[in-house]
Amino acid sequence: MEGFWAVFFPVLRVWFTCLVVLIMLPAMFGISLGITETYMKILLKTLEWATHRIQRASRAEEILKRSASNGLIQRNDSSLEQEIEELRRNRPKSAERGDFTLSDVLYFSTRGIESIVEDDVTQRFTSEELVSWNLLTRTNNNFQYISLRLTVLWGVGVVVRYCILLPLRVKGWLSELVHLMCYRICARGLSATIHYHNKQNRPKRGGICVANHTSPIDVVILANDGCYAMVGQVHGGLMGVLQRAMERSCPHIWFERAEMRDRHLVTQRLRDHVNNKTKLPILIFPEGTCINNTSVMMFKKGSFEIGGTIYPVAIKYDPQFGDAFWNSSKYSMVSYLLRMMTSWAIVCNVWYLPPMTQEEGEDAVQFANRVKSTIAQQGGLVDLAWDGGLKRAKVKESFKEQQQKKYSHMVVGDDSSD
């Protein structure tokens, strides 16, 4: 037994030294040895093969075609008016004047039950479902045992991920704390392959960079390609440590929780920062919360009232290699990081979009929506008008009134011509 350990430790040491040399040193100097790229290619091929096996086993070609959306329910997206017309179409009586019919209630009850089974908002706060299985148990919802080969492959994957990738990344992650400016090491540590598009539109000093939010890693991804001043709340715990560490390298804007409620104070501080053209561009996530990267939710207008040039950035993760979404109500920061480090890789695309400014006669809300649609369009995300804050808050009464208005128009609006 002792002999085994005696052999094992030197082997381990050699192994780690190799890794350091091959991975960390090039990372520090920004050179790539092409190892990550090869790793990615092998990974892709393996996942494709795995998907193929599962497809064959379950005759699932039609599933691939059909699951364009992430939804559970195939909804009929016609409007209230169209649906009620359908319900009334077979009436034996004259249908020229609008009227109430007993079956109208079916429209509302159908919509209600649909939303009980699945609603647009709640599903954005859980992880996206993948069509194919990427050999991580955490994304496996419904796949059953397919074949021995697949199980073996999965087993090998577990070994690789926990025994090789994880220690690597912990080491890499620790050094990021030490070398504050070396975001690249951290990125390599996560095997993050980031494709930056349109680098000519990169945010400049004195501007505001606006992006969709999926996880705290967004910051790392963007910071890899430029320096930003962060805006945010002072956190406790692990996040707080990170924040204080970052504070030493760049001048950031951190707020106390109490201050955040005083919107004028916040806006004023941001405005001062922006007007100073020598200061780094501010990075803001206007959604206010993490969304699962299939959609973009309502942008809070606060960031758009500051003035200055907005540089929109769209970030889209490739879910096949690892789900980057942080479900803050389900996972703490530490367990989230653990999951990140044991995924296959983080692959994402970052698109820098051309700068936008507020136009004449456009108010902050309209401007925010315009920027939101640009980002959604570029990233291939669904553009939703729902507020991300609904994760924790209630719906306003005015939405119900809108529905009531529409319906009454049908029932009573026509009657007035009697």
Partner: protein, 215 residues
């Protein structure tokens, strides 16, 4: 890999549930996930407050009535079985079901679907929709957009058309007849073997089919 079976085992009496409602194991698991997602505090049952947290439902004019349909009178909680049974109303009618005289009617029969809709009106569950109850539903669906007089005239007209025995209320039979000539639009669960996702689609049903089968 094998996680489906373990989830099923955690649900008590799941065999009975599947038989009564006609849902497949995959559907039950989906609904169980949804149930757990709604049950944020992990108590194992839902209360009206949990349903109220669904944003689109809060926006629905008759949202509270739909929520009320899940809770039997006097009960404050909904367990998973009841939840699934209520949703089973919205499965498509099994056209190939053999007509056995002694077997109980399945939950998703046309008659039971109509009973569900009827209950949305008939809150005191006396088997009749009174004028007051009708007014309440109308007020919920129309909000403050119409005056009281308009509301009353609509209610009067509806009762006049549907009430055949002239007792100033609409019974279930009269309700059924009033809906007979309508094309129903109710969503349904699509059941296809080996399918990974639950597909729910809206289905249109013509009145001829209805007459042949259930009535």
């Amino acid at each position: 890999m094998g996680s489906t079976n373990s989830t099923l085992l955690k649900i008590p009496n799941v065999e009975v549930l599947m038989q009564e409602t006609g849902f497949s194991p995959a559907h039950i698991i989906r609904l169980h996930d949804r149930f757990k997602a709604l049950d944020k505090e992990g108590r194992g049952h839902l209360c009206p407050h949990d349903f109220g947290a669904i944003k689109e439902l809060a926006m629905n004019p008759i949202g509270d009535r739909i929520i009320g349909a899940f809770f039997s009178p006097g009960k404050e909680t909904v367990d998973f079985h009841t939840f699934v049974k209520i949703l089973a109303h919205f499965r498509p009618v099994d056209k190939d079901r053999p007509k056995e005289p002694n077997s109980p009617e399945p939950i998703n029969s046309r008659s039971n679907k109509l009973k569900f809709a009827f209950q949305l009106y008939d809150q005191d569950k006396d088997g009749k929709i009174s004028r007051d109850e009708l007014l309440q539903v109308l007020r919920a669906m129309l909000g403050m957009q119409v005056t009281d007089e308009q509301l009353e005239s609509i209610a009067d007209r509806t009762i006049q058309e549907a009430d055949l025995d002239r007792d100033d209320t609409i019974s279930f039979e009269e309700f059924r007849k009033a809906c007979k000539h309508k094309r129903f639009t109710m969503f349904r669960f699509c059941i296809r073997p080996g399918e990974r996702k639950l597909m729910l689609t809206l289905c249109h049903w013509s009145s001829e089919l209805q007459d042949q089968h259930e009535l």
